[in-house]
């Protein structure tokens, strides 16, 4: 990343050698991304992150196909960048079917397939949920959608780096990625767009990114993204196994040492790094602050809704009550997480939960 912040300030669209220098670096990054996903470089559209990529997928497909049909299918547990975009498209004249999930947070593939109609233009289902880690049956849905000539988009932000995606275009037409989920910089992402997918840009401007995303490329962030993605891909299987082991150790300890604890989506296939846990009878932010004061970082619901007092839409869709959803914390494990840290956090939680339950008015 540093060369592009320190000296190589050329615009990759420029004619001169400074521009060419950066243009060639951009090609290298695009090729590296393409190799990971087994696609062509022209199928990689760099964006400012997952939110922009999701907006491009939904609004871009809707705009390109509005004369073919107006029906879009998605699920109730998508990230807000999909759900709210779908909601706005609904106001703009599209008809959006939002399918619910079972108690494990998984959408029924058959229900999605059954919802496809002759006027359906797009199906969007996330690969892995960002709050519970639950994996969705995207392959089955994607293949069925393709058979019916319907575009399939998957928001793979949370699954990227944990699930192998080297043949993702076999079932998906568009795939959303974000750099910061694989230790890349914040502010970079991509939408993989399978060749032949009908899509229009959502911003107007230059011809950058195959005409789908105008604006001078953020070269430093893109270089960091590509390098991080390559590293994540190289260590994917060994890391997934190690982290899943730590996650299971953490959950088992909590279930054993704290009464009235439940693990969300425990019965579903999950990405290995996410653990969503309800500590009944307490309010999650109070646990978060106690943890934070000890230097332990966790989340309540999804980070995007912090500050809003609405309980997680994901947990509510799974059938949890408001009260249960308020008591949920999300722990994320990663590259630097050790067994010692996992044990320390679970032991710390015992005291915090006990203290808060003692003073609870419930």
């Amino acid at each position: 990343m540093l060369p592009f912040l320190e000296g190589m300030f050329g615009n990759p669209s420029s004619y001169h050698y400074l521009g060419r220098q950066v243009r060639s670096a951009l090609q290298v990054a695009r090729r590296a991304m393409a190799d990971i996903f087994g696609c062509g470089p022209a199928e990689v559209v760099f964006t400012s992150g997952g939110t922009e990529a999701n907006n491009l997928a939904l609004r871009g497909a809707a705009g390109a196909l509005k004369d073919t049909g107006l029906h879009i299918i998605t699920t109730a547990v998508e990230h807000h960048s999909v759900l709210k975009t779908a909601e706005v498209l609904g106001l703009e004249g599209f008809e959006v079917t939002v399918l619910s999930v079972d108690a494990q947070g998984v959408v029924d593939a058959q229900a999605v397939i059954d919802a496809i109609r002759p006027d359906t233009i797009l199906v969007s289902v996330m690969l892995a949920n960002n709050e519970t880690g639950a994996l969705q049956p995207v392959e089955e849905i994607g293949r069925a959608a393709r058979q019916r000539g319907v575009l399939f988009h998957t928001d793979a932000v949370q699954g990227f780096g944990k699930v192998c995606l080297n043949a993702v275009f076999e079932y998906a037409d568009m795939v959303t990625l974000a750099a910061h989920k694989v230790y890349g910089p914040r502010g970079a992402g991509a939408l993989l767009v399978r060749k032949g997918t009908q899509l229009v840009p959502v911003m107007t401007g230059g011809h950058h990114e195959q005409g789908l995303r105008p604006g001078t490329e953020n070269m430093a962030a893109i270089a960091g993204f590509a390098a991080a993605a390559q590293q994540a891909q190289a260590t994917l299987s060994s890391e997934a196994k190690r982290i899943a082991g730590l996650r299971d150790r953490f959950e088992k300890k909590l279930l054993k040492t704290i009464p009235s604890v439940s693990i969300n989506s425990r019965g579903a296939e999950r990405v290995p790094n996410t653990s969503s846990i309800c500590f009944s009878g307490i309010e999650s932010e109070s646990v978060l602050l106690h943890l934070d004061l000890l230097g332990i970082c966790a989340s309540a619901g999804s980070a995007c809704t912090t500050g809003a007092s609405e309980p997680s839409h994901v947990l509510r869709a799974m059938g949890l009550s408001n009260l249960q959803a308020q008591s949920a914390l999300r722990f994320s494990l990663g590259r630097s997480t050790t067994a010692g840290q996992v044990d320390m956090v679970s032991e710390t939680l015992v005291g915090i939960i006990k203290k808060l339950r003692q003073m609870s008015s419930l």
Partner: protein
């Protein structure tokens, strides 16, 4: 052919407008709890229940994220003891804790004058998105006082 729906401007969302008199635009918003708030959160004062309390209140809705119970003991027109229990966020716990310290040993009529602002000021401010929590302690206190007054009326 374009669908008519797409040409109809009335389906467009209205532009987002900043609310007038938006307090946050006046001053730098407090984004995190200060030391006093954290102290009242980690070591909340007057937590517990009072047996044979003279006034009691249960307010809030746990489904909305906050609920609290508050008990008062009254003697000769003074609050001689006050205790609370809370299911709530750090803001709710800290403001409730501070509210109890502000009325402990205070004459009832004075305690009734306590406002949310008094509690927030005593804490040195709380994040703006947590202002609603400050309502909890004061509201519970007032409800407990009116419970006490109703009980007194019934006895007399």
């Amino acid at each position: 052919m374009k669908s008519e729906k797409f040409d109809d401007d009335s389906s467009q969302e209205p532009a987002i407008q900043r609310p007038e008199g938006d307090e946050e635009s006046q001053a730098e918003p407090v984004i995190f709890y200060n030391e006093t708030v954290i102290d009242h959160f980690t070591n909340p004062r007057n937590v517990g229940e009072i047996d044979n309390a003279d006034g009691f209140a249960l307010i809030g809705d746990p489904a909305c994220g906050d609920q609290m119970k508050l008990w008062i003991k009254v003697a000769a027109g003074y609050i001689v003891d006050v205790k609370f229990k809370s299911f709530g966020c750090p803001g709710a716990i800290a403001t409730s804790s501070m509210a109890t310290t502000l009325v402990m040993g205070v004459y009832l009529d004075d305690a009734k004058q306590l406002t949310d602002d008094d509690v927030v000021q005593a804490l040195g401010g709380i994040p703006s998105n947590k202002k609603h929590c400050s309502l909890m302690g004061v509201a519970a206190l007032k409800a407990a006082i009116s419970d006490y007054e109703q009980r007194s009326e019934q006895q007399s």
